[in-house]
């Protein structure tokens, strides 16, 4: 049961961690595409 309690803590921290990293990555991706838009002659 001690391991289970520790695992639940890891579950909470893990999901929180993954969402926080994801949000940062989404912001970075959005900035990348805004700062570096395709040039007119660029093939997309």
């Amino acid at each position: 049961m001690e391991n289970f309690a520790a695992a639940l803590r890891v579950m909470g921290m893990g999901m929180l961690g993954i969402f926080s990293v994801t949000i940062v990555l989404i912001v970075v991706m959005s900035l990348l595409t805004k700062i570096f838009p395709p040039e007119n002659n660029e093939e997309m």
């Binding site: 921290m13 893990g14 961690g17 994801t22 990555l25 838009p37 997309m44």
Partner: protein, 377 residues
């Protein structure tokens, strides 16, 4: 005559457990050839399972007359898996295979990739109830990454003695995604939800953004989850080779010849962990059950998150695409696209599904890195 009979003396070392492992090896080979399930991996693994379960097999390390004779598969294991070399090389190949454009065109899709990692952490907790230590539970939970190299990386990091079973479960269930996901999705969505149409109006993505993407992801992942940097870094390096536009030959080699070659050697080498005495036990059965649970709850996590988002957004999302966050690239995206077409032949979800699917690849690697950070070896 006695000398002649001694040629067959090794037969007395044969055990029924070895024969069972031959059968398991045979099944893996059959699945690879007949059902075309991950043949590049299941075929060498199946053959390797037979190879290491021959009595006094010279393919693995044996003690003969008090002397230790190293077997080539154990040598390969120490040279390529224990030090993570094969896995990292494979990640370069995977990175070179993946086109992240659909994700860059619609970054918010990444949230579903994050939600679909739920199965990893849920299974981790579940595994502790089956008596696994926290480290072994993490190694079992990571089967839910639906990403073989990440599973091997994490299980190997924790020196899990269940590595063989974890690899068999991870790759088998990855190949079974078309069978596992559809009934789970149907069970938690309505027909109306499955028919939701999603407009695809992506923003254009420049070549410079595609080149900078792997570099920025590496830096951010390294800063936030440093333990994941070997995995993320090699994955992104492979992607940089693909996107830079000047290393076409290297990119082709990485995603084709190198990835195939490493997978082949990897399959044979991991079989060294499939010795009857380590493999045939109750824990292996638990791992197979828990691995399936990980895939199911990944799917549930992704779909329910999409349903939750639908409560707050004007533009409704087809909740099925949440299931693509499981990773298992590109199979999961294909499965969801086909399900969408089945519900409504004019509803094509391929781009949205691919965007979520590639984000699942990144998120599963980050989830693996987070596990390494959260649970001490």
């Amino acid at each position: 005559m006695e000398q002649f009979l001694s040629l067959y003396g090794n037969l007395s070392n044969l055990t029924w457990q070895m024969v069972v492992m031959w059968a398991i090896g045979g099944i893996l080979i059959w699945l690879g050839i007949r059902k075309k399930m991950e043949p590049t991996l299941l075929l060498p693994m199946g053959f390797g399972a037979i190879l290491v379960n021959l009595p006094m097999s010279g393919a693995i390390t044996q003690t003969v007359n008090g002397l230790i004779e190293e077997g080539p598969l154990d040598v390969l294991f120490n040279a390529g898996i224990a030090n993570e070399l094969f896995l990292l090389l494979l990640f370069i190949g995977i990175g070179a295979m993946i086109d992240f454009t659909p994700l860059l065109a619609n970054p918010s899709m990444m949230l579903y990739g994050a939600a679909a990692q739920f199965g990893i952490f849920f299974t981790l907790a579940l595994a502790t109830l089956f008596g696994f230590s926290l480290q072994d539970a993490a190694s079992v939970g990571i089967i839910g990454a639906a990403d073989g190299p990440t599973s091997i990386f994490v299980a190997n990091y924790y020196h899990s003695r269940y590595l063989g079973a974890i690899i068999v479960a991870a790759y088998s269930y990855m190949a079974l995604v078309p069978i596992i996901q559809p009934p789970v999705i149907r069970a938690i969505t309505t027909k109306k939800e499955r028919r939701i149409r999603m407009d695809y109006n992506p923003r254009n993505v420049s070549k410079r953004a595609k080149i900078l993407f792997p570099i920025f992801i590496t830096i951010i992942a390294g800063l936030i989850a440093p333990r994941s940097i070997a995995l993320v870094g090699f994955l992104m390096f492979g992607n940089l080779i693909r996107e830079c536009g000047v290393l076409g030959h290297l990119s082709d080699t990485a995603q084709d010849v190198m990835a195939n070659l490493v997978t082949l050697v990897l399959g044979l080498t991991v079989a060294s962990q499939m010795r009857a005495e380590d493999f045939l036990n109750r824990q292996t059965l638990f791992i197979l059950v828990l691995g399936l649970a990980a895939f199911i709850f990944d799917t549930v996590g992704g779909v329910l998150f999409a349903k939750l988002m639908n409560l707050f957004t004007k533009k409704k999302i087809n909740p099925m695409i949440g299931a693509c966050g499981i990773s298992a690239f590109p199979m999961s995206a294909r499965v969801i696209t086909q399900m969408g077409i089945k519900e409504d032949p004019s509803n094509i979800l391929i781009m949205q599904a691919t965007g979520v699917n590639v984000s699942g690849q990144i998120c599963s690697v980050i989830a693996g890195g987070l596990l390494l950070s959260l649970i001490a070896r």
